[in-house]
Symmetry: C2
């Protein structure tokens, strides 16, 4: 099976790397950013092009959500299977007379970070059973955790990830504003953060909840509200505490 990867960002880079580690040949890596393509090409010995998409059996589109539709229209091979790697787009966003699919790795990717690919969940979707099997087999060569998932389900997977990762990161950013205001290095909080995450590997997050809201500790809750100077911090403080109280029926 001839595979072309379209895109040169973090996801494209890690797909190329994962395939390379498993000796799965990639025919070409195609995109606009010549510098980024060249780097991937050299590191994993994959031909690249910025002008002409090679003929292949499977095209994997790993570009920004906004660009998937446009770039998908450039694939003119009607015998191909084309999959995008976005969590929040339906396969029908793809514009062409080919078989459409989705090949979604649930992870946040940075080029510089080593990842354990076998632990990354892949969610695959296709128009027919045969294509589904092709994608499932491919993903299974990289990862132990491959699931068939239609767009309805994938939307919720993405929403869960927004809560558990994007929003969590934002809380770190807001927390750092508070520690910065007192000249306390944010690094001091990393062991506590690591431990908070370690805990949910072993127990349900609902059972692991600590802090003033779940104790319904009015003294500390009022103390904190008086301490908080930033309007956005206060909104978050009140919203999350209310949500904690609702969850535990306090």
């Amino acid at each position: 099976m001839k595979i072309v990867i379209i895109g040169s960002g973090n996801v494209a880079y890690h797909l190329a790397k994962a395939f390379s580690q498993k000796n799965i040949p990639v025919t070409q890596i195609f995109g606009r950013n010549e510098l980024a393509l060249k780097e991937i090409s050299e590191e994993f010995k994959i031909p690249f092009s910025t002008s002409e998409i090679a003929h292949a059996d499977l095209y994997l589109i790993s570009v920004n959500d906004d660009s998937v539709e446009t770039i998908s229209a450039k694939i003119l091979n009607e015998n191909a299977l084309v999959a995008h790697t976005s969590g929040s787009l339906p396969k029908e966003i793809l514009q062409g007379n080919y078989r459409k699919a989705s090949f979604y790795p649930l992870q946040t990717f940075s080029k510089s970070k080593e990842l354990q690919y076998e632990e990354i969940p892949f969610f695959v979707e296709a128009e027919n059973a045969e294509d589904l099997e092709v994608l499932r087999n491919l993903a299974s060569q990289i990862s132990k955790k491959v699931t068939i998932s239609d767009y309805e389900k994938r939307k919720y997977i993405h929403l869960t990830a927004v809560f558990a990762c994007n929003f969590v990161n934002h809380l770190f950013a807001r927390a750092k504003e508070i520690s910065d205001s007192q000249n306390i290095p944010f690094d001091y909080f990393l062991p506590l953060i690591d431990e908070t995450v370690q805990k949910i590997h072993e127990i349900e997050p609902k059972s692991a909840q600590t802090g003033p809201a779940v104790r319904n500790d009015q003294r500390v809750l009022q103390l904190h509200e008086a301490l908080i100077k930033d309007e956005e911090h206060l909104k978050i403080y009140k919203t999350i505490n209310e949500s904690i109280k609702k969850m535990y029926e306090l």
Copy 2:
């Protein structure tokens, strides 16, 4: 120096363990819960009592915030130094004619979890320089990260921890409700969560932000709002996204 630990919960357990590992003798562990005291006593060879507090130079009170005041009144030794381990109480909460102090380890403790004590930040406060030195020395035998911190500063440390840990855990709990609703194992999100936290060991959380809000991706934001059925989820979704937009001036 004779040390007595008061309390038999998670913090008391880990203080006893940390002292034991560094061969710092503890004269007694005192509390109400005989079973818990017995376990600590047997594991670390420390005498325990539920009836009479032993004479000591330093008393470390590691009980629930609500109980600190009451139990502190039982220490009648006027020559002693008494410190509590709470992040959110002033040292003046202690009721007695002794020298008052605070000895605050910034970590979330479970008995069953091994911890690297040397990485746990300790914040110490006392009435005079000599006591401060005693506590700083003691903490330094356990940890590499010991800081002098008055109550004003400690309040903000605790508030930061609430955002970075208690609130983060609640987001995990809410995220799990979403994945549960689709029968997707929450375990699938753990590699992504781990990676999200790993990232902030290397780059500022503000620079690490991803997701639809920071991209100002109206399509996905609207899609998600339509997907969310739970009122509390929706409040969190809107509040955090608003806060992200404010932070990046979108």
